[in-house]
Symmetry: C2
Subunit: 207 residues, 2 copies
């Protein structure tokens, strides 16, 4: 049986209230697999619960809306839906970094190398230079933060563009992996709606 342990502190109370739906979903439908894999494919990254995405999008807007975001950057594939739903509350375009080379992607592009543990390989992410400029104030949105490699790649692209990084809105952070800690130590404003502190076959514990 899965159990939910809550350790609120002051700054998390608002978020915990808003994101109880996400945590409840993780508890009721999430499956912990070998190798630190948390399967949430019934509502987050294969089948998508749109009402949940909307609550997440509103919460990202509450957390970042005062900071004059001009663009939301995400990465294909499972970040796109969350980013699009969230973008409605910011009234800004979404740009998604591509993982696959394509005839549709030519001209000047920013690239960065990302190591994926989920897929067991290194891949190149690409963003057309047309869509991120030094004028942009960019919020990154993604479904997961674990070792942070994808986020580092996206931040690298923003640095190449000379854009301002507002922060990163993440649905689920694996707090037991190092990505969030390392990036916060660099001063990056990372807001994760649910941070899994520990998990095994029998329980998922949130920070």
């Amino acid at each position: 049986m899965l159990t939910l342990e809550k350790k609120d502190n002051e700054c998390q109370i608002g978020r915990d209230t808003a994101m109880q739906l996400l945590k409840d979903k993780i508890i009721s439908e999430g499956i912990v697999k070998a190798g630190g894999v948390l399967k949430v494919d019934s509502f987050l990254n294969h089948q998508i619960d749109i009402a949940l995405y909307n609550e997440m999008g509103k919460e990202f807007a509450r957390l970042f809306k005062e900071q004059e975001v001009t663009k939301i950057l995400t990465i294909e594939a499972s970040g796109i839906g969350i980013a699009c739903i969230a973008a409605q509350y910011f009234n800004v375009p979404v740009v998604f970094a591509k993982k696959m080379q394509s005839k549709n992607l030519d001209g000047d592009i920013y690239t960065s190398e990302v190591e994926s543990f989920t897929h067991g390989k290194t891949y190149t992410i690409r963003v057309s230079k047309k869509f991120i400029s030094s004028e942009d104030k960019v919020l990154i949105i993604d479904d997961f933060l674990a070792n942070g490699k994808a986020l580092v790649g996206l931040i690298d692209i923003l640095e190449q563009a000379g854009a301002t990084l507002i922060g990163a809105g993440i649905a689920i952070e694996k707090g037991f992996q190092e990505g969030g800690k390392l990036l916060r130590e660099k001063g990056i404003n990372i807001q994760s709606l649910a941070i899994v502190k520990e998990m095994d076959e029998n329980r998922i514990v949130f920070e």
Copy 2:
């Protein structure tokens, strides 16, 4: 200079009114490349115009909402955003077929082989059997319809599941390629918001 030639018939008037925004965008920002490639990466499939997606989503709802859709099926990556925005107007979940094998995708899955001209290779699409059942009435949503291979693959998966296919909502159809014609001849209800009849470097003409 791009020119827009309009040939409305009665049943297209409503759609043309609603989708003028899409056609205007194609005319003003679309770029025709060699090999029948229509680049619309500034608003549809790399950078995303969320207001446009919302108009498209409302139009898909108008076209299909009476048919008791229980689920929207799309394919990663560029179908996901449109499907998620549209799903808000249907109040149903989105399922997206995956192109890449992943540790997150195990257990019983439906698969189908899809030949991609854009990426120049054949790939396997995968949907977990958990998320499409014989009870489902499924609307497929995607950004492009050209030769129809992706759509055929998605329909194949629905047939394997014994699900009911309501139809397909497409943003841009290349009417000069055969996919739409072949699938409509099979009796499939395909509603494309903009059908490009012909295009070259100098103009894009809609049906």
